[in-house]
Structures are given as C-alpha cells and as structure tokens.
Amino acid sequence: MAIAILLPVAAGILILAVRNYYARGAVVILTSLILIANSVFFAIKGPFTYTPGGFNWGLLITILDYGILIFYLYIGFSLRNWLVLIFAATQIIPLAYFEFVMKANIQVTPAFVVDHLALVMTLIISIIGSLICIYAIRYMYDHEHHLHLEKSKQSRFLFWLVLFLGAMNGLVFANNLVWLYFFWEVTTLCSFQLISHDRTQEAVHNAARAVWMNSTGGTAFILAIIYLYATQGGSAALSVQNLIGGGIQASVILLPIALLCYTGFTKAAQMPFQSWLLGAMVAPTPVSALLHSSTMVKAGVYLVLRLAPVYAGTYLSIIIAIAGAFTFFATSALAVSQSTGKRVLAYSTIANLGLIIACAGINTPLSIAAAILLIVFHAISKGLLFLCVGTIEHQIWSRDIEDMEGLAAKAPLTTIITAVGILSMFLPPFGMLIGKWIAIEAAYTVPLAAVFFVLASTLTIVFWTKWLGRLLQVLPKIQQPFEKLSPSYSVPLWTLLIGIFVVGIGIGPIYQNFLLAATNNVVSGNQIFALGLNNLILTSASLLQRDILGLFPVWPLYLVLIIALLMPLLLIGLKPTELRQVYMCGEQTGGTDTDEWLAEADKKTRFQLGGYYYQNALGEKRVNPWANTIAILLLAIMIGCGVIVI
C-alpha cells in the first residue's frame, strides 16, 4: 500500500533533486517498474483492506487539504482569476466549518479498501501511467531542446507526473470520503501544475480554467460530505463501502449522491465542462496522454461507476445515462469538425467517457461490465494514440491533421502504430468496438440513450476514418525505410501496441478471470467483506457469464482478427506490373514521384488536397451553444432528482 501511494511521492522528491538526464531517467524507470510490479502483486493477491497506523495520517491529510486550497487562493489572487478564487473559497469555508464548527470525527475503518474494481484501476494507472512517465523522459528532453530553454524544468515536470500516479492510486483505494476528497484535490493540483508547465499565457489561463471547473466539483464533494455526516449521524456515513453496501436507504441520500456524480462529471470533463480538458491540450503531450488514458478523467468515471449501486433504480440513474449518452453524441459530432490531432483525441476521450458514464447510469450487470471493459480498452488505445501524436509532433513539429498528410511516406513506423491505434478505436475485432457492442445491447432499457449511442457511434467512424485517410495518403513511388525512435519512445509505444492485441484477443479469459469480479463488485454494492467473496461471485457469475460471454460469437471475431492481421501482408505479397500517376484529365506531368500537373499556360503546379471539416454544420460555434444548454439542463435535472426526493 505504501509503495502504491507513497513511493511516487518519495520518487518525485528524488527526481526533483537529481539534475542529470540519465540519472533522472533511471529513477523514473525504476519507480515505474516497482509500481508495475506492485500493482501486479496486488492483482494476484486479490482484494484486501488496510488501515495505516502509527501516525496521525488524518491530521496530515487535513493540513495538506488546507495547503492545497490556500495555494488555489494564491493562484486566484496572483492571476486575478476570480473564478478560481471564488471556488477555492467555497471549498475552504465549508471544510473549515466541517472540521471546526461541527468538530467532525472523520475516523473511518478500514481507511483503504482494495476490491476488484480498485485492482483493475490500479493496474491501469500503474502500468499505462508508468509507460507514459518513461515516454516523458525523452519527450521533455526533445521538447525543451526545441523550445531552446536555458533552464531545464524537466525535473519539476517529472515530479508532478510521478506524483499524479500516487494520488490516483490513493484515490481508487480510499474508503474514507474525506481522504478520497484529499486525493481528488491532489489530482486537480497535479493537473494544474502540468497544464501550466510551459508558463505561456495560454497555458496558465487554461490551467486556471481546469482548476476552477474542478473546484466546482470539489465544492459539491465537500457539500456532499457535510450533508452525509450531518444527516446520517457520524463517520459511518463517510465510508464508501457503507454507502454502496446498501446500509443506508438510497432515497434519503440521493442529494449527496447526485452532488458526488456532479463532481465526477466535472472531472470526467462531461459537457458542459469539456472546455477544461480541451484547454489542457496546450500542455506537453505526455500530460495529455496521462490525463486522458489512465488518470484524472478516469477518476471521474471511477466515482460515478463506484456509486452505481446506490442510485440504481432511481430517476437519477436514468438522467445520468441520458446525460452521458448526450455527451457521447455531441462531442463525437464536434470531433468531426476538428483539424488538430490532439483536439480530435480530446473530444473522442470525452465522448468515450460519456459512453462509460452512460453505461454506469443504465445500471444493469451487462452495462456495468461494458463500462469496465471500455475503461480498460480506452486507457490502452488512448494512451497509445496520444504517445503517437507526441511522436509525430516531434517529427514534423505540428499537431495539425492536415500537416500529417502522407505521413506514411515520411515516417512509416509511427504511421503504422498510429493507424493500428486509430483502428483499435472503432473497428472489429478490437476491444473498443466490443465494448460499444455490449453497451448498445445493454442500452435498450434506456431507449433515448440507445439512440444517442447509435448516432454517436456513426459519427465516431467518420472522424477516425477522415484522420486515417490523411495519414495514409501516399504518392506512388516515394518510400522510406522505417525511422529510428529513441527507446524511451519505442518501448512504451510497442508495449501499448502489444497490449491492444493481447487484451483484444484475450478478452474472453481476461473478462472471466478478472473483470467479471470487478463487475460483481460494482453491481452487488461491493459487500465482499460482509458476505464472503466466493458465494457472491458464484451466484451472480453464472448469471453474467450467460449474459455476456454467451452472446459473444467468439469464433467469428477471431476469424475477423486473422483476416485483419493478414491484410497488411498483401502489401508485400502483391506486386503490380506498373505504378502510375493518378488521373488528372490528361494534364499530369508524367512522373510517378511528383504530384505536379500542368495548370494554366502549361505551368507545372503542385496540387494540394485537404480534408473536409464541415465547419458550417458541426463547427464548435454552431454546436456549442445548443449542446451546452442541453447539457446544463440535464445537470440541473440531475441535481433536481436529488432534491425532489427530499
């Protein structure tokens, strides 16, 4: 436990001290390996609980809580950003009220509960997060080299990156809501530091936006804690296990649960909060990769998913499903109009998080299973794609999709990996599609969500295909050998690439041995310690197996996979007798290695092609006002669901 949470802190401080590129790299790699080993050890060991003793950890956490909030006040003042200031105050005042006026006793045992869902999360955080940290070693070196910085800030960057992993581990393990809140704030703090890392005006501005938006979530979190404590009498209500275990009647605590879901929505950048995650794109790419795949936004989904059994069967659940599905739809549409690679990825992340949240809201065993599958698949694919975009950026120094035209000829290896990453997001037989397939199947209980799923999944096809098309456009005769990548780039890339295939192919066994237990944890309200693990899993396991794996026609998927793997071999196997220039009404200049044609007065002119972005139909200016209005309404109804029950 100490390794998962405290080691990153210690390693981070060590990294701050080490100024040498190689020594620092070694520390990061070592930390990553220990984290990965530790998470695998946890997974093998199975669920357990833990309460740290010997030291007043609660006091330390309280002090650090105030430290973070005062820091927000400070940045609010120094940036003259009133929103940051206001929402820092709305957190610090209730927190002080809670601790000094109410004199709350916040002792909860066990302090940490590691169940199967937490295990899945910690595996994602530790493995994918660590790979991204390794990638960042070289990336930040190149990044600063390109910016011609005099004073290196790589140590600082890696410090926050590694610290982030520790905070996330703490977040998924924490059973005490107050501690969960603390780790929640630490991730917000880390994201502020990482987004503002380049210290440009835009970066600082966007980082401040991330803070205030997440602070509204933090405020809701505090209010939920106070409400629970006050109405449910004491610290027992602050135990997550107690909440989801059905110990308290759901209708009584629906308001705090709605507030906590709101908090999850802010962190998962659901509409109308999408702008902070889009603004976060100014940061160096490893930050985006980390925020999008394994940390930060996944914390938001984790919270909503974790609370699923509490709001099961209420109107709140249906509203969450519809709000998530609406985000999935609206952001997929917005992604079509984006021409910057990272913004497409960002919108696609928000969309997929919407899908996961919608699955949590649909709240059947099948949909919860879909949500967990999607979390896993999305983390791997999105992590890979961001690292790819980062690698491309350091080859062509641009994030624009139009600049990636014909990348297949310039950087074949990166292109192939990116192409697989993109294909894994929306095509059979890869995992994301399987997740989507189960989601659509599960969605029938909330038909409106199902309709949004259908529309969004089509829009998804459109924007991925458009991007892939730009990458793969080539001239007949230009070919280059594979480029060489630094091992700090290639190791994470290859690992994630292999991960996509392993998880995609092994979905049956992985689901049965591992994710099924996590699904059970969520669905059954996680009473693993109260009821005895074996009984519970045995009874509902047989049910779930029939529901999900029974419907997987697994063999055709393998058939499709084999075909998909064989297709690239055609590239080598097929040899046309002749490669020619494309048809240009007889005005081409004749060479197969140029893209010139004879324009007016027979002047040789290069022709250029561009992608379509449908700005008039789906541009941000057109869609945002509508979509945000609807999203805000849905949020209002969501909170309203909690209020009306009282």
Binding site: W437, I461, G469, V474, P556, I563, M567, L579
Partner: protein
C-alpha cells in the same frame, strides 16, 4: 459442422453468381425503361472476366490492401447473415467494409478519388444509424440480436417494424448507388464522367470492386428478406420487389447533393426508426 461448412461454400460461390445476374437484370430493365435494348443479362460476368485479364496497374500499393479489405469484410458480413449470427456485429462489419473503400480512395493523391471518398463517408453517416436502429428494433422485438432468433418467430418483423422497413429501403438506394443517392459513384455511369471513389481502380482491382458489389447486393436484399422470414420465400419476394422499386426510383430521379442526403436521412429516416422503437418500447415494455 459440415452443415456450416456447406453454408460457407454456398455463400462464397452462389452469392456472386446471383448478385452478378441481378446486376445484369438491372441493366436490362434500366435500358428498357430508357427505350434501349440493353446488354445481355450475363454482361456483368463478361465485364468481370475481361477486367481480370487486364494489366495490373495501380497508383498506390495501399490501394490493394483496402480493396481486398472491402471484398473480404463484405464476404464476412454476408457469412454472418447466412450463418444467422449477430445482426449488430454484422452492421459493424459492413461498416468496416465501407470504411475500407473510403480509405482506398484516400490512399491515393487523386482529387477525384478524394471527392468520392469524402462522399462515401457521408453516405456511411447517412445510412449506418438506420441499420443500427434496425438492430435495436430487432432487439426490441425479439430480445436478441441473433438472426437465428428472427427465424424462430412466427410473426414476421414487417408487421411491427414497418417504419424501419421504409427507412431501410432508403439505405438500399444509397448502398446500391442509385439516384438520387448515387453520391460517391453511380452504379451505371449515367451522370458522371469520372467515377468517384473508384476512379483510381483499374483492371483486376476494379474487378474485385465489382465482385464485392455482387456480394453486397445479396447482403442488402438478405437484410430486407429478414423482415418476413416465415415463410422465407415471401421475404425473398419482398426483397426482389424492393430491388425492382429501386430501378424505378433510379430512372425517375436525378442525383442530389450530399448535404441533402444526410439531412433527409437524419430527419425522416431517423424519426421513422426512433418512433418505431419508441412504439415497441411502450407497447412491450422493457424486455
């Protein structure tokens, strides 16, 4: 096992034969409607073998990968239909087949292929939601996406899913590349000089495109036949009637713009589908 193997073999061999024949009939009827005599019914096969014998000329090596992808995934989705497997997965696979064709267009630096590819993409945007809604409609009716479940039902789907049936006819027009929706490339070269997304395919590779289209027409008519599976011959008759109807529509309509197609499909088509599902939902409740 042997039975399954037989189904696979029959699908692989018979589907293109029937498909090619249908296209021959299409050309004959179209010609008669236009007051021409028309080519012999087996003209598509003559064309196919002639194309196969041509030189292997290409403008990009990536092109073959994608045209093979188009063909192979079309066959796989047809197999899904004939083996009575999962309908939702079939729609996803059909989507991948179309995406392959789009990527084939994008993989060359040809303005015409790019126009065609972008339009094909918009066609996917127009028809894919309707097919997915059909899948949900089938699920709403039968409680399963499996095609084999449809065959077990006594009552034909057409009775409850007729609004979706109308919407699927719309899909058929788009997928058969008939006017007014022959946006990416038209089936007969009647309104265009440069053949859209297929511009850069020639010889044997173009023959593969035709072959894939033959499989595709069988798949589409098969999906329509699902609306009346008991007895199946009624469904097949409905499918053939739909086919003839498309030929009429083709000859009385002119090509419309991409935007018009997407708007029409996302308004009329989707509303039909959504109302249909909503109706089943409120009459049957959640299954």
């Amino acid at each position: 096992m042997i039975e399954q193997f037989l189904v696979v073999m029959v699908t692989l061999v018979c589907a293109p034969l029937v498909g090619g024949l249908l296209f021959g009939i299409d050309r004959k009827i179209t010609a008669r409607m236009q007051g021409r005599f028309g080519p012999p019914v087996i003209q598509p096969f003559y064309d196919f073998f002639k194309l196969l014998g041509k030189e292997h000329i290409a403008v990009s090596k990536l092109q073959f990968v994608w045209i093979y992808g188009y063909l192979v995934f079309m066959i796989v989705s047809l197999l899904f239909l004939f083996m009575k497997s999962d309908f939702l997965l079939l729609v996803f696979l059909l989507g991948f087949a179309s995406v392959s064709l789009v990527l084939g267009g994008f993989s060359t630096k040809s303005p015409y292929a790019h126009f065609g590819a972008n339009r094909e993409l918009m066609q996917i945007l127009a028809y894919e939601p309707i097919l997915l809604l059909l899948a949900i409609g089938i699920y709403a009716q039968n409680g399963s996406f499996l095609i084999s479940e449809i065959f077990k039902q006594e009552k034909p789907l057409l009775f409850t899913l007729w609004p979706l049936f109308l919407a699927v006819l719309y899909v058929l027009t788009i997928k058969m590349r008939k006017s007014p929706f022959d946006i990416a490339t038209s089936h007969h070269g009647h309104q265009e000089i440069v053949k859209g997304v297929t511009t850069e395919y020639s010889g044997p590779y173009f023959a593969l495109f035709h072959l894939a289209e033959w499989y595709e027409i069988i798949l589409l008519l098969g999906i329509i036949a699902l609306f009346w599976t008991n007895p199946l011959w009624v469904g097949i008759l409905i499918a053939l009637a739909a086919f003839i109807l498309e030929l009429f529509i083709d000859n009385i309509a002119a090509r419309m713009t991409v935007g018009w197609m997407v708007r029409l499909s996302w308004s009329v088509g989707l509303i039909l589908g959504i109302l249909n599902i909503a109706y089943i939902y409120y009459t049957k409740g959640v299954s």
